[in-house]
C-alpha cells in the first residue's frame, strides 16, 4: 500500500509529460502471423481498444473481436476448450477471478519481457509473482457534489461519510432539498457493491486471512450497515430501485446534491448532453472516508486483458502484441476522455479527477479473492430487507453469512 501511494503521483507526473506518438504508422504491430480472437464487455472504451487491435490484421494475421454484455458467462466455457474459442479475454478485477480459479489464462512474464516495452510497471497485474493480466484503464466510484448547493447551505466539501450526513442535514435544514443524497442501492450487484465499498473504508478484511471463512460479522460490518441505512434517511423514498444509470438521471434533473457514483459516468454528468445549469455546478472529489478510516471507502477497479492458456504460443504472442497495440499510447492520445487510462501518455481530463483523487487517497482495489464473487452474490440478495427497514443489522449480517457459507460449501471453498 505504501509503494502504491508513491506510484500514483509518479504516474500522473509522467502523464503530464505527454508524448504524442499518434503519427506512427497505425497498422504496424510487428506481428508475423497468428490468430487473435478477442472477447470483451460491450462499452465504448473497449470497443475502441478492440477496433485498434483489429488494425493489426494483415495477410498472415487475423483479428476478430466479440464485444458482448454476456462476456462473463461465455468466457469460462469458451476458454475451457482446446484450442480456446478466444485468445484474449478482456476482464476486470472481478471477472478475472473465475478464469484464475479454473486456471484458464497463462502467465505473461515472457511476453511482457519480449513485447511489453510500452507498458508501465503499474499496468501489470501479478498473482503470486506471475503477471496474469495487463490493465489499461481504471475506474472507481467517487463523490459527485453540487458546489452551489453546498455553498448555499454553508458547508464544506465533506471528506467522510459522517460529514456527508451532516451536510445532508444542513442542506435539508436550509430548505434547499428534501432528499439531497443518492446511492446505487438497488438490490443486486449495485447494493452489494455499496456494502463492499463502505466496508473497505473501515480497513477491515472480508475474510479470515488465508481461508474462505467470512469475517464481516463484526463491529465494522454493523457500522457499515448502519451508515448505509442512515444515509437512506436523506434519499428519495424510491432509493431501493436506483442503480447507477438512474443516479445519473436524478443528478441531471438537479434532484441530488451529493452522491457516490462511478467515475466512468462522470463524463456524462458534465458532458455536452448534460443539463448545463447542473453541469456547471457539478464537482468531483475522492470518495469519502468512513468510520475513522484514513482511505476512501470505495473499491478501485481496473479493466485489462488476459491471454488464454489453451492456445498456441504463436497465437498468444500475436494476441499479446495486438492488445498492446489496441491499448497503446496512440489509442489513449486519440481518445483521452473516454476512460481513465492507465497507459503511458494519458493526460487526465476534468472528468477523471475523482477517480485519480480516490486512487491517490489510497483506496483499496476490489478484492481478487477466489470466493469474493460468492460474497457479492450473498450481499446482493440478503441486504434488501435491511435497507427497506424490515430487519435489523445483526439479522442482515447473519443472513449474509448463512447465504455465503451455503454457496461457499457448494463451491468447495469451505
Amino acid at each position: 500500500m505504501i509503494g502504491f501511494k508513491t506510484t500514483v503521483p509518479a504516474v500522473l507526473g509522467a502523464a503530464a509529460l505527454i508524448t504524442l506518438t499518434a503519427g506512427v504508422a497505425l497498422a504496424d504491430c510487428g506481428i508475423e502471423s497468428g490468430s487473435v480472437r478477442i472477447l470483451s464487455n460491450d462499452f465504448e472504451a473497449l470497443r475502441i481498444v478492440n477496433s485498434m487491435a483489429e488494425e493489426c490484421a494483415s495477410d498472415s494475421v487475423t483479428v476478430t473481436a466479440n464485444a458482448t454484455a454476456e462476456h462473463k458467462n461465455i468466457q469460462g466455457p469458451a476458454l475451457t476448450i482446446d484450442p480456446a474459442e478466444y485468445t484474449v479475454a478482456v476482464v476486470a478485477n472481478n471477472s478475472i477471478v473465475s478464469l484464475l480459479n479454473e486456471g484458464l489464462i497463462r502467465p505473461l512474464d515472457d511476453l511482457v519481457a519480449e513485447y511489453g516495452d510500452s507498458l508501465r510497471p503499474n499496468q501489470l497485474i501479478s498473482v503470486d509473482g506471475k503477471v496474469m493480466a495487463i490493465a489499461f484503464m481504471a475506474n472507481s466510484q467517487h463523490m459527485f457534489y453540487r458546489s452551489d448547493i453546498l455553498e448555499q447551505a454553508g458547508v464544506d466539501v465533506p471528506t467522510s461519510y459522517e460529514e456527508v450526513l451532516a451536510a445532508a442535514q444542513a442542506i435539508r435544514d436550509a430548505g434547499l432539498m428534501e432528499y439531497p443524497l443518492a446511492a446505487a442501492d438497488k438490490p443486486g450487484w449495485d447494493l452489494a457493491a455499496e456494502f463492499v465499498n463502505m466496508y473497505l473504508g473501515t480497513g477491515d478484511d472480508f475474510f479470515v486471512p488465508g481461508s474462505a471463512e467470512l469475517a464481516i460479522d463484526n463491529e465494522n460490518g454493523l457500522a457499515t450497515l448502519e451508515m448505509m441505512r442512515a444515509m437512506t434517511e436523506f434519499m428519495d423514498p424510491d432509493y431501493l430501485t436506483f442503480d447507477a444509470n438512474v443516479l445519473n438521471q436524478e443528478w441531471d434533473a438537479g434532484n441530488v446534491a451529493i452522491m457516490t457514483q462511478w467515475g466512468s459516468l462522470a463524463g456524462a454528468a458534465t458532458g455536452e448532453n448534460a443539463n448545463p445549469e447542473i453541469a456547471a455546478n457539478t464537482a468531483f472529489a475522492a470518495a469519502p472516508t468512513f468510520h475513522g478510516g484514513s482511505t476512501p471507502a470505495v473499491a478501485l477497479w481496473w479493466d485489462g486483458f488476459t491471454i488464454a492458456k489453451n492456445i498456441s504460443d504463436e497465437d498468444a504472442a500475436a494476441s499479446f502484441q495486438a492488445m498492446v497495440h489496441g491499448a497503446s499510447p496512440q489509442t489513449v492520445a486519440a481518445n483521452p476522455n473516454v476512460a481513465t487510462w492507465l497507459v503511458e501518455g494519458y493526460e487526465p481530463g476534468p472528468a477523471a479527477v475523482g477517480v485519480i483523487a480516490t486512487a491517490n487517497g489510497g483506496a483499496r482495489a476490489y478484492p481478487m479473492q477466489p470466493y469474493m464473487g460468492l460474497l457479492h452474490t450473498a450481499l446482493s440478495t440478503e441486504l434488501a430487507e435491511f435497507m427497506a427497514g424490515q430487519e435489523d443489522a445483526e439479522q442482515a449480517l447473519a443472513d449474509v453469512k448463512a447465504a455465503y457459507s451455503t454457496a461457499a460449501r457448494e463451491a468447495g471453498f469451505l
Binding site: M1, G3, F4, E70, N73, N94, S95, V97, L100, N101, E102, G103, N122, Q123, L124, I125, V127, A135, A138, K186, G188, W189, P209, G210, S211, D236, P237, L240, T241, F242, D243, A253, L300, W302, L342, A359, R364, A365, M368, Q369, P370, G373, L374, T377, S380, T381, E382, A384, E385, M387, A388, E391, A402, A403, T406, A407, E410, A411, G412, F413
Partner: protein, 343 residues
C-alpha cells in the same frame, strides 16, 4: 396409426427435443446432486495498479487432480435441495421450534430467499392467470359485438402488450410508474398524496407487478377466446333465446361451456408461463420486494460475478416439479380425453 408410421412422423420433433431439452435436463438433474471439489487454496501476494495485497488463490493444478479423479465433483445427494438457498429444511426446523407464535415463524421463514421467491411466484401465478383469462374473455365478448369495420384495428391494438419486447416494455412502464412519471404523478394527484410512490412499499410493488402481469397476459387469452366465439353455434343461441334465456344466461349456459376446452388450453399455457415469471421483476427493479424462482436461477447463473451451477440446477428442478404439480389437474383431464379418443 401403426407404430412404424408414427415413429417416422414424430422422429424429427423428438430428436430435437431429446438433444436440446431432455439431455440438458438430465445433466442438470445430475449436476444438482453433486457439489464442487474442495478447492486447494494457497496464500499469495497479488499486485496491480493500486498496490499489493496478500490474497488467496486456488491451486488449479491440485484442484485439477481432484477433478480428474471424480469429474462430476463430490456426491451430495439431496444436500443442495435441502440447504438454506433452497428448501432450507434445517433452518425451517429451527425456526419452527424456536418461534413464539405462528406469525413470527412465518415471518422468519419468509426471510429465507427460496420461500420469499416461492411465495411471490405462487401468488403471481394464482392472481394473474385467472384475472388475465377473465379480462381476455371480457375483451373478446366486447370486441365480438363491435362493428365489423372496427374489428381489425381493435384486435391489432389489443395485441400490443404481448408483442413489445419485455426488455424495453417494462423499462418504459418502470419510468411511467415512478413518481415523476406520467402514471405515478397522476396517481399522486388522484389520491392527493405527494409522497405516494408505487415502489416504496412491498404491497404497492406487488400490486404494480400483478397489474403488469394481467396487462401482458390478457391479449393471449383474448385472441384465443375471440376465435372460439366465432364457432359458437348460432342455432343453440337462438333456441336459448326462444326459451327466454337472458343475455347473461346465454353467456353463462351456452358460451362458457362451449369455450371450456379452450380455457383449459389457455390456462395450461398461462399457468406455466406465469410460474416462470421473471422479466417484470428485473424490469421494474423490484428485487427488494419481490423475487421469483426464475429470478433466483438467473441470479445464480448470469446476474453475478460467480456462477453457481449446482444451485441453479436445483432451483430449476424444483421449478419443473412445481409446474408438474400445478398442472396435474389439467394433465388428468388430458389423460381422460386421450383415453376417450383411443377407445
Amino acid at each position: 396409426m401403426p407404430h412404424k408410421t408414427f415413429f417416422w412422423f414424430i422422429l424429427p420433433s423428438v430428436v430435437a427435443m431429446i438433444l436440446f431439452i431432455a439431455l440438458p435436463i438430465a445433466s442438470v438433474v445430475i449436476q444438482s446432486v453433486y457439489v464442487e471439489h474442495e478447492r486447494v487454496l494457497v496464500e499469495v501476494e497479488n499486485c496491480g495498479p493500486f498496490g499489493c495485497s496478500t490474497e488467496v488463490r486456488v491451486d488449479t493444478e491440485a484442484t485439477e487432480q481432484l477433478r480428474s479423479e471424480q469429474p462430476l465433483g463430490r456426491f451430495n445427494g439431496l444436500g443442495t435441495y435441502l440447504n438454506r438457498a433452497h428448501l432450507a429444511v434445517e433452518e425451517v426446523g429451527t425456526i419452527v421450534s424456536t418461534s413464539a407464535s405462528i406469525g413470527e415463524a412465518l415471518t422468519r421463514i419468509y426471510n429465507l430467499p427460496f420461500y420469499k421467491a416461492f411465495l411471490f411466484t405462487l401468488i403471481y401465478c394464482f392472481v394473474v392467470t385467472p384475472l388475465g383469462i377473465m379480462l381476455g374473455f371480457t375483451i373478446a365478448l366486447a370486441v365480438n359485438t363491435i362493428p365489423r369495420l372496427l374489428k381489425g384495428p381493435v384486435i391489432f391494438f389489443s395485441l400490443l402488450p404481448m408483442i413489445i419486447t419485455p426488455l424495453i416494455g417494462s423499462l418504459i412502464l418502470y419510468w411511467m410508474f415512478s413518481s415523476n412519471g406520467i402514471l405515478g404523478a397522476t396517481l399522486q394527484t388522484l389520491f392527493n398524496d405527494p409522497t405516494l410512490t408505487l415502489r416504496q412499499s412491498p404491497a404497492l410493488t406487488w400490486i404494480t407487478l400483478l397489474v403488469y402481469g394481467v396487462w401482458t397476459a390478457a391479449p393471449f387469452s383474448f385472441v384465443v377466446f375471440y376465435a372460439g366465439l366465432q364457432t359458437v353455434p348460432g342455432d343453440t343461441l337462438e333456441s336459448a333465446m326462444i326459451d327466454g334465456a337472458s343475455r347473461w344466461e346465454r353467456v353463462r349456459f351456452v358460451i362458457i361451456p362451449h369455450l371450456a376446452p379452450l380455457a383449459t388450453f389457455v390456462g395450461l399455457v398461462q399457468l406455466m408461463d406465469n410460474f416462470r415469471v421473471f422479466e417484470p421483476i428485473v424490469g421494474f427493479s423490484s428485487e427488494a420486494s419481490a423475487t421469483s424462482l426464475s429470478w433466483l436461477v438467473f441470479n445464480d447463473l448470469v446476474g453475478q460475478d460467480s456462477q453457481a451451477f449446482g444451485s441453479a440446477a436445483a432451483t430449476s428442478v424444483i421449478t419443473i416439479l412445481g409446474v408438474v404439480i400445478l398442472l396435474t389437474p389439467v394433465l388428468i383431464r388430458t389423460w381422460r380425453d386421450f383415453n376417450a379418443k383411443g377407445a
